[in-house]
Amino acid sequence: MFPANFGYVAARSVDEALELLAQHGEDAKLLAGGHSLIPAMKLRLASPRTLIDLGTVQGLRGVRVDGDALAIGALTVHADIAASDLVRQRIPALAAAAGVIGDVQVRNRGTIGGSCAHADPAADFPVVLTALNASFAVVSPSGKRTISVDDFFVDFYTTALGQNEILTEIRVPLPPSDAGTAYHKLANPASGYVVVSSGALVRRDGSGKSIDARVALGGLGGKPFRAAGTETALRGKSLTLESIVDASAKAAEGSDPDDDIYASADYKRHIATVLTQRALAQASGFKVETSHPQNQR
């Protein structure tokens, strides 16, 4: 399979990419790792006239601590996030999500920025980043702005990014020392994409009570679904397996998943509850079995 013809420009800097984007307008697409865009182009689901390659721009890769957040360059590949000691120690859910995307080769090439900008409803990063309350640093010819995760993902393959904007960095607040995070996924066995997934961030006080929980679910709609029922039910409760099970029963409350070829809507709601139990239990310090070695090391 070949993509339709297109012109190619390798950008040397973010500024140059912005100029090229302004020049080519809606006919252009930004290319990061290409692991969403190139397959779409091969299937002729996308036929941009021009690709502006960000892979040649320096300074968009890597993970660093910046104040009270982890700053992750948009072109950082999944494998580097999964293997980062910084990520594994401070935000285990993010390393876990990065480590279960696609397969080894895909993780060596796909980027966090590309995945988020593509906003596939069956992707892992949008879900875990919603649970972690991340934000997105964006540049345009008129300057910089930051978009919160709850505003960034809009619908199926749709984000708040404007036509003239480039996502440069994903910022994930470092959870306080009393917090825990976890991400659990039921993957489609053929494609590896999310059937349903659940990400959780739990903060507790000295007596083990939950101060605050954020829970996000994937696979229930066009964008990550905040499990508001679960979050509310857990607030102020002691973090026991009983309270977690009770709160998780409300995980899919208010969601409206579709039946599809792999799973019925009822099944997805059920799995949302099960995965939320696991994610909350792990984030609260209980030992939870995972089947993926990435999550065990």
Binding site: L31, I38, D53, Q105, V106, Q294
Partner: protein, 170 residues
């Protein structure tokens, strides 16, 4: 519309190549059709099966989902770059000793992924081997002998696999 060709320069199996490519030319077809490096296979062509796996700047990647222009300046190793003359790479030898193949179509990709695994993890468990080969599909052997092949190679590369298994004569 015919897009303008783009000049690229890259190193493949320690040989430098300069070429002008159409932007839409995929790396796997550049390797196969332009350079005749047909050991890298095209299986699914949708980044699932891993038959097209190569190493790009030291990492295992799927060359059906990379444009040749994106590989400008890269160092690439293909299955043809593993052996030293008649001496097979230990992973190639492992697939031979343990018969880690039937039709052989997936084998170059399996081997490239296995070499990448052993570079990062010289003594993997069977479970780790299976996860490392998650992105490589085989439709005939059932994977058992593939895992055995990788274990054999790991042992050989750690210096513990010499006479055992002997030579296979054909």
């Amino acid at each position: 519309m015919n897009a303008e060709r783009v000049a690229i320069s890259l190193t493949i199996n320690n040989v430098r190549h300069d070429a002008a490519v159409e932007p839409r030319e995929l790396l796997v077809y550049f390797l196969r059709d332009r350079l005749g490096l047909t050991g890298t296979h095209v299986g699914c062509d949708t980044s699932q099966c891993g038959a097209c796996t190569i190493h790009l700047n030291g990492r295992a990647v799927k060359s059906c989902t990379i444009l040749a222009v994106q590989a400008n300046g890269a160092e690439i190793t293909t299955i043809e770059g593993l052996a030293h003359g008649d001496e097979l790479h230990p992973v190639q030898e492992g697939f031979r000793q343990k018969h880690g193949l039937q039709c052989g179509y997936c084998t170059p990709g399996m081997i490239m992924s296995s070499v990448y695994l052993l570079k990062n993890n010289p003594n993997p468990t069977a479970e780790e081997i299976k996860h490392a080969l998650d992105g490589n599909l085989c439709r005939c052997t059932g994977y058992v002998n593939i895992v055995e092949s990788v274990k054999w190679a790991a042992k050989r590369m750690r210096g513990g696999q010499k006479a055992e298994g002997g030579d296979v004569s054909r």
